[in-house]
Amino acid sequence: MILRRIGIRFAVRPDSWLRCGSALAAIAVVVASLTLAIITSASAVTGWSHAQHLTPAPGSGLGDRTFHARVDSYPYDGEAWTEVSVTDGVRSFGPPDGMGYLPKSGETLISPALEELLRRDPSAQKRIYGKIVGELPESVLDSPQQLVAFSVRAHLPGGYVAHGWGGPPDGGEAKLPLPGQALIAITLLGIPCVILFLVVIRLSAHERGVRTRRLSLLGLDASAVRVVIKWEGYTLAAGGSVIGLGVAGLISATLGRTGLLGQSWFSGAQLSTVLGAIFAAVVVVVVLGPAWAHSANTGPRGSRQWTTFAACAGAILPAVTVLGYLAMLTVLGTGAPQSSVINLVVLGCLLVCAACTFQLLPWLTRHVALRFIRPTTVPRLVSRARFAESRGRATGPAAGVFVCILAMISALGYSNFLNYAAHSGTPGQARTLEVAFPPHLQSTATHALLSQQRDDGFLEIPTQYNKHGGITGITVVGRCRAIGKRCRRRSAYEARSNLPQWCRIPRRSSTHC
C-alpha cells in the first residue's frame, strides 16, 4: 500500500524536466489513438472496397430485375451533400422502407435540410436534377440535418447495377487480411509509441535513479522498488491517457469537419476513435509500467544498467522500423505504384526523423544550448551543466516533438494511401463509395456489381444503360505508363475482345487519355 502511494506521489513531479515525461505520455496516447482510429476506419474502407470487388457477378440475370444506382457525395457549405440517383428499373422493387412512393423519371425528392438550404441559397438549385416534387421522410435519413437528393432518371451514366433494396450483401465483406491489419497496427501504432516511450524513459532515467537509490538506502529491495516505479508509470500513463483521450477526440472531431479529401471518414469514426483511444490508453498503461520499472535503478548504488537497454533498443528499433515499413509496403502496395511511392516517402521521412531524433538532435541541442545559454544566473548555470553532462537531457523534449511529427507522417501517409485506393480505382481494386448515406441505399450499393477486372489489369465499369437497365456501353479504366496518371478509354476493339458476353458494345467509341 505504502509502495503504491509512493509511486503515485512520484508521478507528481516537481521537476519541469520530468513533467515532459507526463506530456510525452499524453502525446503517445494521442498518437496511438489516432493511428488506431485510422487503422480501424481504414479496415472498413478497404473492406468495403474489397467487398465490391469480390461480389460475384450476377451474370445473365442482370437484365431481368435490376436497376442502376449511383451515390455522389461532396462537401457543400461545410456539409456533405449526397445525391442518390436510380434508374426507372427500380419500380419493380417499389420504394425503400420508410419511403411512401417513388418519384417518376426526371423527378427528385429532397431532404428537409436540403429544402431549407435551397430556400436560403437559390443558386444551389442548379445542382438538383430534374423537378423537385416532394420531401424525403426523415425515416430514411441518418439525421434530419442530412442534405440528400433522391432522383429517378431514365439514364444513369456511371451507375452501379443493383438488384434490390437493403438486406445483407451476398458476398459478405472482405476485410483486409488479419496479418495485414496486424502489420499495419505494429508498424503505425507500435513503432511510434515505442519510440515515444523510449524517449520518455530516457528523459527521466537519471532522475528516477536518484529517487530509487534513496528508497534502496532506506531498505527497499529491488522488487519493492519496482513496485514503486511501476505505480509511478501507471499513474503517469493513466494521467496521460485522460489528456490523450480528450485531445484525440478533439482532433478527430476537427478533422471530421474539415472536409479534406481523404479525411471525411473521420466523421464516421468517432466511436472507433474513442475505442481506439481507450485501447491505446490501456496499452500505454500496461507497457509503460513494466518498461518504467525495467529501466529503474533498483540498487542503492545502481544495479541495473540503463545503457544496456538503450543500446539494444537503439539497434533493434531502426531495423524493426525498416522491416515493418517494407513489409507494409509489400502487403499494401501491390499493384499500386502510387501507394508504393507514398509508402516509400513515408519510410524515408520516418528514417530521417529517427536519425534526427537520436543522432542529430542531441548533438545540435547540446551545442546550441552550450552556445547560447550563458551562465549568468544560477538556474542558467545548472541548466547549461545539465545539457553538457547528459545526452538524454538534450534529446528529451525536442525528440518528443520529432517523434510526434514522425507518427503523424506515418498516419497521414497511410491516410493518403487509403484516399488514393478509395477514390482513384487502382487496377485490382474497385472504386469505393465516398461517404456514409442512408442504410437502405448503402446496402444496395454494397450489393452492386461495380466492376470487372480484366486479365490485363484494366478495370471495366458499366457506364451506359438502356431503358431496361441493360448495359449498352462500358468504360475501360486503365493506367498510362506515367505513374499517377489514369487513362480512360472507350475502345470497341478492347471491349469486344475482352468483355463478357452479356455486355453490349456501342458502335461509336472513342479513346482519350
Binding site: R9, R13, S216
Partner: protein, 233 residues
C-alpha cells in the same frame, strides 16, 4: 517498539573486511566493533574509503573478504534482498545533503522508514511530530524539501534516521553542507536523537570538531583502520 537484535552487547562487528573497486583496493583487513549506543567517528581524507566502510556496515556493499555482523545477524553473507531487509529494520541513515525524496513532504519523508517497517500511519505521525518538535522543525513538516533550508532538511533527515528505532545510525558527512553554527546544532541533535533512541552512531567525517564530539574516533589510512582514541582530545 520492535525487538532489538538479540545476542551480545556488541551490535556491529566488522571483521577483517576487504573491499576493492575494480583493481583498486580501498579497504584491507578492516576490523571494527561498535557497541550498543556507542558513537564512533570514522576519519580520513577524501577517497580514503570512509563512505565505503559505512556502506559495507549497512549492507549496501558486499565485502570481498571478511564479514559484517549485527548481533546474531550476518549482514555481509546474505543476498541483496535480505541485506535490504536488514537495512530497513536495523539501520538509519543521514547523508550530507539530507537525501530526502523531493516528491514527499518532510513529514512523509520522516515517517517513511516507520511505514516501511509496518508501523501504522497514525502512530508514525505521532512519533514524527514528537521528533520534529524536539528538533525544531515542527512548523515546516508539511513543506516539501525544496521549500525549506539545508539545516531544516538535515534535521528532517535526522528524524527520519531514528523514527523506526534502529540499532545503528549511519551518518555520512552529516554536517558537510551546513555552516558551522547549523552544523553544531545538527550534530548535537543527531547525538541526542541517537542517545534517546538507544542507537549506535557511526559518522564518517573529515572534520575533527565533529569527530571530537563522538565517544570514539578511528582513522582510515592506506586502507587500514587506526584507532585514534584520545588523540583528538
Amino acid at each position: 517498539m520492535w525487538p532489538r537484535v538479540k545476542g551480545c552487547s556488541v551490535h556491529l562487528d566488522v571483521c577483517n573486511v576487504s573491499f576493492s573497486y575494480e583493481q583498486s583496493e580501498v579497504l584491507h583487513g578492516v576490523t571494527l566493533r561498535i557497541a550498543e549506543g556507542e558513537s564512533c567517528a570514522v576519519l580520513g581524507p577524501s577517497g580514503s574509503g570512509k563512505s565505503t566502510l559505512l556502506h559495507l556496515m549497512a549492507g549496501i556493499l558486499e565485502p570481498a573478504a571478511g564479514e559484517v555482523r549485527l548481533g546474531d545477524l550476518t549482514v555481509s553473507s546474505r543476498d541483496a534482498s535480505r541485506r535490504a531487509g536488514i537495512r530497513k529494520r536495523h539501520f538509519g541513515f543521514v547523508f550530507q545533503f539530507g537525501d530526502l525524496i523531493p516528491e514527499l513532504s518532510l513529514l512523509d519523508n520522516i515517517v517513511l522508514p516507520a511505514l516501511l517497517n509496518g508501523m501504522r500511519r497514525r502512530v508514525a505521525d505521532r512519533r514524527a511530530r514528537e521528533l520534529t518538535d524536539s528538533l525544531g522543525i515542527g512548523e515546516v513538516v508539511t513543506r516539501k524539501p525544496r521549500e525549506v533550508s539545508g539545516g531544516q532538511m538535515q534535521r528532517a533527515a535526522i528524524a527520519r534516521s531514528v523514527i523506526h528505532s534502529p540499532d545503528v545510525v549511519i551518518a555520512d558527512e552529516p554536517t558537510g553542507s551546513l555552516d558551522s553554527a547549523s552544523a553544531a546544532v545538527g550534530l548535537r541533535l543527531l547525538l541526542e536523537s541517537c542517545a534517546s533512541a538507544g542507537a549506535a552512531l557511526v559518522v564518517a567525517t573529515h572534520e575533527t570538531s565533529v569527530a571530537a564530539a563522538m565517544d570514539r574516533q578511528v582513522t582510515i589510512t592506506d586502507g587500514a583502520l587506526v584507532d585514534t582514541a584520545g588523540e583528538l582530545a
